[in-house]
């Protein structure tokens, strides 16, 4: 049995990914995808989130946190590989609290010990940027062609500039809260907690999933998922690259929903077969095959390093 440790801050698309994965593996609508070998003993949670996915509605999350786990008996039709994959669908709040309160549950501790693959979820619209006050001031000055916040400073004498800079005492309107830390720092923090468990397993495969990939503006197909991580989460990218003894990384852009669940979703729900809604981009990805990150993470794509 393989356990995939799924990491992601709140609302980063973990549950929707699992719902679409369950549908694709079970429906066999996508020719190259992994298939469901047999139904698990308890598929209540997986069926519940899959129903929401079919109806294009957010997951109702009526099931207790402790029961939010998917066990999938998967096999690769082109190969001998077969295995039971446990996909614990932990709430994003678990990860938020790890970063903020510096605690993790015993269940998570056990998962960290047994997991040999990671899926890391990021949502492009939920990214907290490391934007500074100075950068915003600069943007404003540029936007207003040097008029806003610029004039007063230029009218100061040389000595006034030096003394004025000294007297400027800033006061923050908001209080510090660890949730204000940039997303990329929080994710590095979460991965660092796992480092003691990774030493004996290294390198561990980590598939980074950029959710809502259809919402990322693209020109001529760019950016690629890898380029997006480098540009938007450079601190995470550096951490993963520089710890290559611990991690082997692939980045995937995924829209498990295929579009927004807000507003009129009738067109989205009408797509037939339903797997065609799924968008995935990344190494070796066939159209709609949301199982590819799992296949790679499990090491079932042997041609890859």
């Amino acid at each position: 049995m393989e356990t995939l440790l799924v990491i992601g801050l709140p609302e980063t698309g973990k549950t929707t990914f699992l719902a679409a994965l369950w549908h694709v593996a079970g429906s066999e609508e996508v020719p190259a995808s992994l298939r469901l070998r047999r139904l698990s003993d308890d598929s209540r949670y997986l069926n519940s989130i899959k129903n929401d996915w079919h109806l294009c509605q957010p997951s109702t999350r009526s099931i207790m946190v402790s029961e939010r786990s998917g066990k999938l008996w998967l096999h690769d039709p082109g190969r001998e590989d077969i295995g039971e994959v446990v996909f614990p669908d932990l709430a994003g709040e678990e990860f938020r609290d790890q970063w903020k309160i510096r605690q993790w549950s015993t269940d998570y501790h056990n998962l960290a010990q047994t997991a040999r693959q990671l899926l890391l979820f990021v949502h492009p619209e939920k990214v907290v940027e490391p934007l500074t006050v100075a950068e915003v001031q600069q943007l404003a000055a540029t936007a207003f062609n040097g008029v806003l916040g610029h004039g007063d400073r230029l009218e100061l004498s040389a000595q006034e500039i030096l003394d004025d800079g000294e007297s400027a005492l800033a006061s923050s309107a908001n209080e510090w809260d660890p949730e204000h830390a940039p997303t990329q720092v929080q994710l590095v923090g979460l991965l660092q907690f796992l480092e003691p468990f990774l030493v004996s397993k290294q390198p561990i495969r980590i598939a980074v999933i950029i959710s809502a990939w259809d919402q990322v503006p693209k020109v001529d197909g760019l950016p690629t998922p890898q380029a997006w991580i480098e540009a938007r989460l450079p601190y995470l990218d550096q951490y993963l690259r520089s710890n290559c003894e611990l991690f082997t990384v692939r980045v995937y852009g995924v829209s498990a929903q295929g579009g927004s669940f807000k507003g009129d979703t009738s067109q989205l729900a009408a797509v037939q077969p339903a797997s065609r809604r799924i968008i995935i981009e990344g190494p070796n990805c066939s159209p709609n095959d949301i199982t590819e990150p799992i296949r790679w993470a499990l090491g079932w794509r042997r041609e890859d390093p």
Binding site: Q98, R102, Q103, W104, S105, T106, D107, H109, V128, P130, L131, T132, V133, A134, E135, V136, Q137, Q138, A141, G149, H150, R153, A158, Q159, I161, L162, D163, G165, E166, A168, L169, A170, S171, S172, A173, N174, W176, P178, H180, A181, P182, Q184, V185, V188, G189, Q192, F193, E195, P234, Y235, Q238, Y239, R241, S242, N243, C244
Partner: protein, 302 residues
């Protein structure tokens, strides 16, 4: 009493959550544990209150938020939360109108910030570095008292790099210049006379807030450099293994053309890569480094 024990025995076992590392700046004891596992140079930041010590440390962490810095990739840190808390008041999410950094208080004692970096080509293992930050009040007391200087002596001797931050804007300001020069000169004198800085010491003097000096114009820049040069006489520079003066702007004003972390890239590389102080051969052959006048390096630095 008996009944309560009995009740406790019968209640279901509730698994206790595991505590994770706090991510805050390390105490001296915690820093020692890090040093037992790996070699990490210690960079001790000294200077008066508001000289920019904590801002400098925070700005190095912040620079990596935008991409590789000084040729290094960010490879992790034991003090991520501490870095972030220090960066917060300069971030847009703080709601501040002007960037700032929370002050390090004297009661906090010595705080160590940890950084792990790796060359971009990944050809060599990651390197680690510790920054030692203390409230400016300690250095003010050191200027006043020989016994306070002696109290800090072990920290200064253990540091691989002694970095003295002088507020460059105050050095350039007619209003604050004499006050700044006098205090800086007294502190350096105390450091030498108390034997804290000796022939094994590697000293970096950083002229902070250089963005304001630069905004004030080229005349002021020249004047500030000249004042800084004369502040540290040749005979003092010759008493240590290395002496450098570098203008820096950790977090430049938005009107400045200087980039964030200005002046810090070469310094960071040097702090990470230089041989540990204990392995440093007390050679006197580096006269070029010690006698390099600031004016000679001006074209490269500004």
């Amino acid at each position: 009493m008996e009944s309560s024990e009995s009740l406790a025995d019968e209640s279901p076992q509730i698994a206790q959550p595991s505590q994770l590392p706090a991510g805050q700046p390390l105490s001296a004891t915690q820093a020692s544990e890090v040093l037992r596992e790996i070699h990490a140079p210690i960079v001790m930041l000294a200077g008066a209150a508001k000289a920019g010590k904590t801002t400098l440390i925070a700005s190095i962490h912040d620079a990596f938020q935008r991409g590789p810095f000084a040729g290094y990739l960010a490879s992790g840190s034991h003090t991520l939360m501490g870095f972030e808390e220090r960066c917060f008041d300069s971030r847009y999410r703080s709601g501040a109108k002007e960037p700032a950094t929370i002050r390090t208080r004297a009661l906090e004692g010595s705080l160590y910030y940890h950084l792990k970096v790796r060359e971009k080509d990944l050809q060599s293992p990651a390197r680690q570095i510790l920054f030692l930050d203390m409230s400016g009040e300690h250095y003010e007391r050191m200027t006043d008292s020989e016994s306070e200087a002696r109290r800090l002596a072990p920290l200064v001797h253990r540091a691989d790099h002694f970095v003295y931050l002088v507020n460059g804007a105050r050095l350039a300001s007619l209003k604050f210049r004499s006050h700044t020069v006098s205090n800086a000169s007294m502190l350096m004198r105390r450091l030498f006379e108390s034997g804290l800085l000796d022939s094994s010491a590697r000293v970096d003097v950083l002229l902070t807030k250089w963005d304001l000096v630069q905004l004030a114009g080229p005349e002021i820049v020249r004047e500030a450099l000249s004042v800084a040069d004369s502040l540290f006489p040749e005979k003092e520079r010759a008493r240590v293994a290395r002496f450098r003066i570098t203008p820096v702007a950790a977090r430049p004003h938005f009107l400045s053309s200087l980039t964030p972390g200005y002046g810090l890239q070469e310094l960071l590389r040097s702090w990470v890569e230089d041989l540990p102080k204990k392995l440093l051969i007390h050679s006197r052959t580096h006269s070029d480094e010690r006698s390099g006048r600031l004016f000679d390096r001006f074209a490269l630095l500004v």
